[in-house]
């Protein structure tokens, strides 16, 4: 079994790095770690980077997960190859671009581009945000799935993800104590549906709601509260249509051995217990 330790980074292609930088710093509030010619590295926590915009096609989207060590990485490669997934062994240059020791790349059954990495870099200096959004770190992603039941099997049987809760047949899956690190979203094609950053408090969620509204950033869902994880949330749209989420208060699964996934009906109140309705953002389709 492939042991994912945590989600490590997201890489997004963008034709316009200047707009991406403007949004990432003045709206989202991340810290610029490094500006390359064709890459923009952004920090959100103690890690050297958690988001990278790379000049190119916005359909090029990658999520990186950390695994224990080189041995685990090689085992993962063999497992994936034996199941018929094409595995790309990352070059030294690719590892350097990602600020990791080594990596492999493959596609999940829906065709999402996934990378497994060893020893992603931390930063000695603390995180210092470009605006006071209260971000405490990159936390999870929403991942498109053309077949949630099949992809749930991939993430939970080939990898070590566990289902924390389901809304309809949409699983919210964890790889550590945090309620979810991967939320599958039914969609016609592969892609990252949203990128989540945690913030310090309810105050930060509501402050950002007014702050982003004033700057005409499209708010696509919230402010609201997920009854599944308990998190207070705000979803908004960034460059190239990518959706970003701030949230606070995601539950931790206290007892790994006895936790049973709860079933929520596929209805609006399962996504927001306050009564907010998505606007310009499709909910995971049942």
């Amino acid at each position: 079994m492939i042991q994912l330790k945590d989600v490590s980074y997201v890489r997004l292609g963008s034709p316009d790095l200047e707009s991406a930088e403007h949004f990432a710093t003045s709206c989202l509030g991340l810290q610029i770690a490094e500006r390359g010619k064709k890459d923009l590295y952004l920090r959100s926590d103690e890690r050297a980077h958690t988001l990278c915009y790379s000049e190119g096609d916005p359909r090029s989207q990658t999520v990186g997960f950390e695994v224990e060590d080189e041995v685990s990485l090689q085992d993962a490669a063999s497992t994936l190859e034996s199941l018929g997934h094409a595995v790309h062994a990352g070059t030294a240059e690719e590892a350097e671009q990602r600020k990791v020791k080594s990596l492999i790349g493959f596609r999940d059954p829906s065709g999402n581009h996934v990378e497994l990495v060893v020893r992603p870099e931390r930063s000695g200096r603390r995180y210092f945000a470009s605006r006071d959004a209260g971000i405490t770190g990159f936390s999870h992603i929403g991942l498109n799935s053309t077949d949630p039941a099949r992809d749930e099997r991939f993430w939970t049987q080939i990898c070590n993800a566990r289902v924390s809760d389901r809304i309809g047949d949409i699983p919210l899956m964890r790889v550590n104590a945090i309620h979810h690190t991967i939320a599958l979203v039914r969609a016609p094609k592969a892609g990252i549906q949203h990128v989540n950053h945690q913030v310090e408090s309810n105050d930060d969620v509501l402050r950002s709601y007014y702050f982003l509204s004033e700057r005409r950033v499209p708010i696509v869902f919230g402010p609201g509260r997920h009854p599944t994880s308990g998190a207070r949330f705000l979803y908004f749209r960034g460059p190239d249509g990518m959706i970003f989420e701030y949230s606070v208060g995601v539950d931790e699964i206290e007892d790994e051995a006895t936790h049973r996934p709860r079933q929520f009906g596929f209805e609006p109140t399962s996504f927001c217990m306050w009564g907010s309705k998505p606007a310009g953002m499709t909910l995971p389709d049942n």
Binding site: D203, R207, Y210, F211, P223, M273, W274
Partner: protein
Amino acid sequence: MNNGRALPLITSVCYVRLAVSEPSASARFMSDIFGLQRVADQDGEIAFRSDDRFRTVSLGRNSADGASIGVEVWDDKALEEIGRRLRDLGFNTREATSGECRRRYVQSALLAEDASRNRIDLVVRPSRSGRRYFPARDAGIVAFHGVGLRTIDRIRDLAFWKALGAEVSDFVGDIAYLRIDGMHHRVALYPSKRNGLLYAAFEVEALDQIMQNSYFMQESQIRILQGPGRQPASRQIFLHVEGPDGLIFSYVNGMAEVGDRPRLARQFPLHPTSLCDWGSESKDVPELGAPG
């Protein structure tokens, strides 16, 4: 708050009596929309509960004895002391008749007016209810919390409240937040061009209910006059909703407890960031706004 007395003179703001043009239509707003429990209809006033008190809101028609704010006084001795202090300061007071007491569901009362001619009832032994509170809608209300009052004579009105034992917790510009128990404030005085009640605030269980009520009001096409927001001075989360005849009803939660140690009132500038930490603004209620 005790001003050297062993016992406080007043303990709470215990009701608002409101004059509206159409009491029965307004009553539907109070129960079905805002979420209070309708409990009585007598002496031309419709009464609503929000907690263990018999009633905290009454709706009546515009009439001579139509609108007032109730303040619970410790006992009749305290009531006499208050009467003496207010008369010494030159405020109008008179004892309530038995009919006026009945209409107010209290045993005895001194009917007073502040300098802005806001009618303040100083009442002893307001009625409680034996049955628990059971509202028409799950708005999450747990108690009547306090009021905002418009003032056209802030210095004299402040003197009125100080005579009752209230202390200023903080100022925003000339808005004064007044403390009468351990909470940051129960009464707030807002400089205005006219007198009257600015808002009646009801405490809800948590942020969840503030937000649920916010979406409920949007869906019910009820105007939100400000919020969801958070008052920096008191840390209180609020949602100001427009009720009948332009009255403002508010859901609140999370006010800071100050305790009874003497405390210097802090001054905040009259600026939008002093009125809401999150960034909400009131476009239509001048008293709730500040020049940006």
